[in-house]
Amino acid sequence: MSTIQESERTAIQEELVRFLRAEAGEDTLRSGMQSDLGYDHAVWQKMAEMGLFGIDISEDFGGIGGSAVDTAMVAEGLGRSLLPVPFIETCVIAPALLEASDMTDESRKILTRIAQGTATIAIGGNADIVPFRDPDCRLAVKADGTMSGEVSLVMHGGSADFLLLAFYSGNQTRCLLVSSDHDYTIENQTANDPALRPAKISLADVPFIELTGWSNDNFEQAGWQGIVALSAQQTGAARAIFEITVDYLQTRYQFGRPIGSFQALKHIAADLFLEVESATSASQAAARALASKAPQTAQSVALAGFLCNDAFREVSAQAIQLHGGIAYTQEHVAHLYWRRARATLSMFGDSDLHREAYLSAWEAAA
């Protein structure tokens, strides 16, 4: 459970909302899109100063010992503003796995740096904790204690301070940390979402630190945290583009009347509202289940996994349709939400997979 009090949480949330509204608007998003990082580094630093990155790191390492409910709150805010920062990788999954592993000086140092906002982590491979799984990745550990191979779709792989490579090797899952101090080849990949920065990483005889001592439960838990944080991001983004769309329906006039007075558009809006609220409920319930280690966590997480995926997809796609021509231009923000929705559809597994997991959880509970 979170060590953060309800009042503290409200304070953090309010500060975050204020900050994002003031300093992470569409202009910041668009200027970040032009940069190598894909986002405005100053925004990242200010979030660090606000202590947001240590939210799910224990106080021992300079964090504030929050829970999935707290990270979801931050992710939801980031989702609203579409900020493509490596928050989930760096501040959710990596800490979960590091804290579950045998502690070393190195891992203590990394956790502290994450909490301070001075280290970012990129995650690649084909294991369940990897945001964008590369089924064709070839990663291998050599007898001499180095590793080699190639992996694609490593988000922020070009700018991260550490690579966390998680992959299946024989019957086991291995998790290696590679410092960017070492030499490896980075090939930036073009993304359909202009803010995203996937990279293809090629490694040849690179030293690594292996995370050991974690259990399968820890590993599953870390993956769940990723799904839940993503669902919160999607929820925030879906709500944001929904609100933009409802505003437009109020102010855009055609045929001498606001287009929001046309019943067909009203009904689409009502249906989308149901999607947004349902996504919110599912995401929040999953975060609560995860934070309280509830027995139905697997089921709650899977539910959030596909409902939020599908809601964000549907809401952002309909947003373009409801805006009409104006949203067919790059100038308008709608397509950015829509691209993000499409990009995250298979992040941590697609909806079909989550639906299957959800049903299996039902069966297991029966």
């Binding site: 409802v246 009904h267 409920s281 639906r355």
Partner: protein, 407 residues
């Protein structure tokens, strides 16, 4: 005067009510202690006299002035002992309407009656006034200190049992539709009231058509003022919509308890639980139901913390896709057997019933289309549609096939 202290904590109150019930109620035989076969009328009088029928109402109006948490404790205690009669301030639409909208005189005369026995039915919809309820054409004409009623009502449940009907009737045809309606407490047991059950597509006949010919209602039975019945009526209908959203129209077997789902059971029974296509559909159906439960929980929290009804409005709409969706999957699971029915074929019969009953939610109490209008306008703040009958004398408003109401 009352046995129950409105300053007591819910816990204390619960104990007090349980104690009271143990004194007077026989849980095992579901009747008043010592009464042969349990005289329900007498029991309700007892509950009413104790103020427990309507605990949230003020003491001067037969209640105890209790807060929501206290009322909940009382209802829970009654439920625990399987005793009826409490919580009428939440469920007795007739009494609630009278309490909220009628004159003090009528309240004083009728509430003690309504709260201790007689059932009320709703005389709202008409064949020509469905979605557009304010378009009613049942007329009430003054005749001294009474009104003569003529017209036809429809979708009335419990009509045969009801002693009173909450009647909407038109008293002025020369003003816009909302402004010429009067709300009456209408005595059902009189000459000129004919009740015909409707054969519904579910096979049930819970609803009736009511033909009213020169029936009479005393002037003092007006709820609210002459021609101002629409406002009083709003109280009642808001309540009805709320209850619908909670899925009360479902048979209990449709509900999904943790880890148990009739749909999954049917899938297992029909050997389809390993079909990946069916599995996706099952997961989606279960998800819609689970997330509606989660939405309702949030809705309740919202209502408690900031009085917001936004989320509440979604439940009825969501229930339509849940019910229609589940019935569709069940039909597909059954395959050719879904064409069967009757007591020998329980699974098909249940599925057929559910498939038909789903329309009760998607049409009854305001269609899904009306519900989407409400969400879009009341919650999202989108502008209202054009209303050609707005500001027009009702007599001039167009009705079916384009004729005018006055023609």
């Amino acid at each position: 005067m009352s046995d129950f202290d409105h300053t007591a904590s819910p816990e204390a109150l619960s104990a007090a009510v349980l104690g009271w019930l143990d004194l007077y109620w026989d849980t095992q035989h579901r009747g008043p202690l010592g009464e042969p076969e349990g005289n329900q009328q007498l029991w309700r009088q007892k509950v009413f006299d104790a103020g427990l029928a309507v605990p949230s109402w003020p003491e001067e109006w037969f209640g105890l002035g209790m807060k929501p948490a206290q009322c909940k404790a009382i209802e829970k205690a009654f439920a625990e002992r399987k005793a009826p009669g409490a919580g009428l301030d939440r469920y007795h639409l007739g009494a609630i309407t009278v309490f909220k909208a009628a004159s003090d005189a009528l309240k004083r005369e009728m509430l003690p009656k309504l709260l201790t026995g007689p059932i009320c039915c709703l005389l709202y919809s008409e064949p020509n006034a469905g979605s557009d309820l304010a378009g009613i054409r049942t007329r009430a004409e003054r005749d001294g200190e009474r009104f003569i009623i003529n017209g036809q009502k429809v979708w009335t449940s419990n009509a045969a049992e009801a002693e009173y009907g909450m009647l909407l009737a038109r008293t002025d045809w020369d003003v816009p539709k909302h402004r010429g309606i009067t709300f009456f407490l209408f005595p059902m047991k009189q000459q000129g009231v004919e009740i015909r059950p409707i054969n519904q597509i579910t096979g049930e006949s819970e609803f009736n058509e009511i033909f009213i010919e020169n029936a009479v209602v005393p002037e003092r039975f007006m709820i609210g003022k002459l021609n101002e019945g629409w406002a009083s009526f709003q109280t009642a209908i808001a309540y009805e919509r709320l209850i619908m959203g909670q899925g009360i129209t479902e048979r209990r077997r449709g509900a999904s308890a943790k880890g148990r789902s009739p749909l999954l059971e049917l899938a297992a029974k029909t050997h389809r639980l390993q079909d990946p296509v069916i599995r996706q559909r099952l997961a989606q159906a279960l998800a819609y139901r689970e997330v509606n439960r989660l939405n309702n929980e949030r809705a309740k929290r919202d209502m408690m913390t900031n009085g917001s009804l936004s989320l509440m409005s979604l439940s009825k709409l969501a229930m339509s896709r849940i019910q229609h969706g589940e019935a569709a999957i069940a039909t597909d699971l059954l395959g050719p057997a879904s064409l069967l029915d009757g007591p020998d074929n329980a699974d098909p019969a249940n599925t057929n019933f559910d498939a038909a009953k789903a329309y009760m939610n998607s049409i009854g109490g305001g269609t899904d289309q009306i519900q989407r209008n409400i969400i879009a306008e009341k919650v999202l703040g989108l502008p209202k549609e054009y209303e050609p009958d707005k500001g027009t004398s009702f007599r001039e408003v167009k009705s079916d096939a384009g004729s005018r109401n006055g023609e």
